[in-house]
Symmetry: C2
Subunit: 353 residues, 2 copies
């Protein structure tokens, strides 16, 4: 059915134009929902596109377009299950708006902003979502990134990320760190070890730690720096493996502790494994608490006590807001999401001696 005289290898916008008896620019306008077009021709073009299975070449589009319809998601930390969820949601939202998404994972020692700048050069991006990055002393670089961006699950109260300068979507890490520590103390724990971030962590890890210390202080418990472990640089950060190693150190050390507060669920799981390998039990011998609220926490044995971040909402809001900024419908905003403390099996009242 229809005109079958097209035997070209790949069918282009020109073919569609020819078939419809219109100019190439008309087809373009039809595709991109530009105003200056009659419903009739628009329909005709739509039909032809359907019939011939035409798909616009993305490279050509992005090359010419004034605003590349592509947004980049730069994720700090590969294979973080929390982010995996977020990325998925973002992808859906981005696709829904007919944008394409490019994702890049960066290690702890890479500068996410640099990565974004490079990406912008080679791709022509409309905007960037930074997921889980650290943005201390990055102001200048962020300015070099001329396109709109949002900071998602970035530390909320870090010195340099202030006020309405940027769009930030995250939880109050200090408060949540406090909340969990307070909970653990109320369970009777006094010697609470912490599996925290990088030694020179300047973002979420630092904030959660601040909350931890505040809680101890408020309860009149001295902070013991020996109980604050920092993760190893050479291992994937916030990973099970990292948690495992730190916990092993803890267990073989001479410092007493009854409880571990890990700054990610993955590390908490690593901790549980290390404890089990040492012939001990969670929560009988040690209580273990995590942070994030990943799906695995539900399934793990014991079920993980944790701070559940509303990652779905954070992801959703982040891209929604990015698009509003792109549409000039909105200014920068900062939204702090509150978390939920899930009391589950991995923590319990401290055993009385």
């Amino acid at each position: 059915m229809g005109i079958e005289t097209l035997n070209t290898e790949e069918i282009t916008i020109k073919d569609i134009a020819k078939v419809c008896g219109v100019g190439v620019s008309t087809v373009s306008r039809a595709i991109n929902n530009h105003p200056d077009i009659s419903p009739k021709t628009k329909q005709k073009i739509a039909d032809a596109i359907e019939e011939y299975g035409y798909i616009p070449n993305n490279s050509a589009r992005n090359l010419r377009r004034i605003d590349g319809k592509c947004i980049a998601v730069v994720v700090k930390g590969v294979s973080n299950p929390l982010f995996a969820d977020a990325v998925q949601i973002m992808e859906e939202e981005i696709k829904k708006r007919k944008y394409s998404m490019v994702i890049r994972y960066v290690n702890f020692d890479e500068q996410e902003v640099d990565v974004a700048i490079e990406l912008a050069k080679e791709k022509k991006l409309a905007g960037v979502v930074f997921l889980g990055g650290y943005f201390v002393r990055e102001k200048k670089k962020l300015q070099k990134l001329r396109i709109p961006f949002v900071l998602s699950t970035a530390g909320a109260n870090v010195d340099n990320i202030s006020a309405e300068e940027y769009s930030v979507f995250c939880v109050d890490d200090e408060k949540e760190g406090y909340r969990m520590t307070d909970y653990l103390i109320r369970l009777g724990h006094k010697k609470i070890a912490v599996l925290s971030g990088m030694p020179d962590d300047a973002s979420i890890g630092k904030l959660r730690l601040k909350g931890y210390k505040r809680a101890l202080k408020e309860h009149g418990i001295a902070v013991d720096e020996d109980l604050i472990l920092h993760m190893k640089r050479d291992i994937r950060f916030y990973s099970m493996e990292n948690g495992y190693q730190m916990t092993q150190e803890l267990l073989t050390g001479r410092k007493e502790f009854t409880c571990i507060f890990a700054f990610s669920d993955a590390m908490a799981i690593g901790a549980c494994r290390a404890i089990a390998d040492a012939g001990k039990k969670v929560p009988d011998d040690y209580s273990v608490a995590g942070f994030d609220g990943i799906e695995m926490g539900d399934y793990y044995n014991p079920q993980l006590t944790t701070i559940k971040q509303p990652i779905h909402e954070i992801a959703m809001e982040s891209v929604t807001m990015l698009f509003e900024i792109l549409d000039k419908k909105s200014e920068n905003v900062r939204r702090i999401f509150s978390c939920e403390l899930l009391e589950r099996e991995s923590t319990r009242h401290r055993k009385v001696l």
Copy 2:
């Protein structure tokens, strides 16, 4: 240092050419390691590129290039931890060869081949890796995909994927299904429930099931179809949730069983959770075995007995071979990788009544 008279917004190949006093095509040749160029000018150009931080625009390259230096990875099944590992390795290998990678996840009800074809239209791909797909009755479509491709972790013995027609990298699912079942039987289990694939599964699930049945038969155990569960369509397949649901059905049903063989580690973990929620214990009350050998299996409580797929090698080989095919250095090959049965805590000898 250097000529600082370039105040253009974005610096292009023309700028580099101008700065170096050479033609644009010379710069292009220098970048792409084409032969006709003297070491001296090549160096000069390299220096200029370095100095000005020039990054070629990818859209323009892909538009013009005869062979798009991009390979697509089409993954059947989102958020499968096994594939996450594989994807990461592939990305490294692809980047190492100066190619870019585009990844697309497809659901069970989407045709991965169609997705690849569409992708090829909009991107100009050099090749495709299909990860974990099903390729029954897809011969014709695969031919429409004019570019080279490899099938990674696709069912090895499926009827239609025969001989040297395609490049296939996978494990022998029938054999491994047999191996695990045989092991479980030797532990004394006779009533082994199976958490298998989709009802109309035509690939790995079907093959593993075949191995399962063969093992039973060889041991003189009758196959009980009621113990063969198929996963739900409306839930992410091979997921913890799916395993959980199936196990719940099993537990609330009236069929007796002493052991569960799940066709993925994730489903096995779901099974463990369901058993725990029912107040039972693994492996005391039920043995549970998985398939895949994901990292989580090491950390889970109990540690999962499973069939460990050499996913790193599979991923590595898959892209290595794809590149060899691209370079015309190699014909299609089929490599079957053998797995390792990890005997761990989630299985044990059947309790005597």
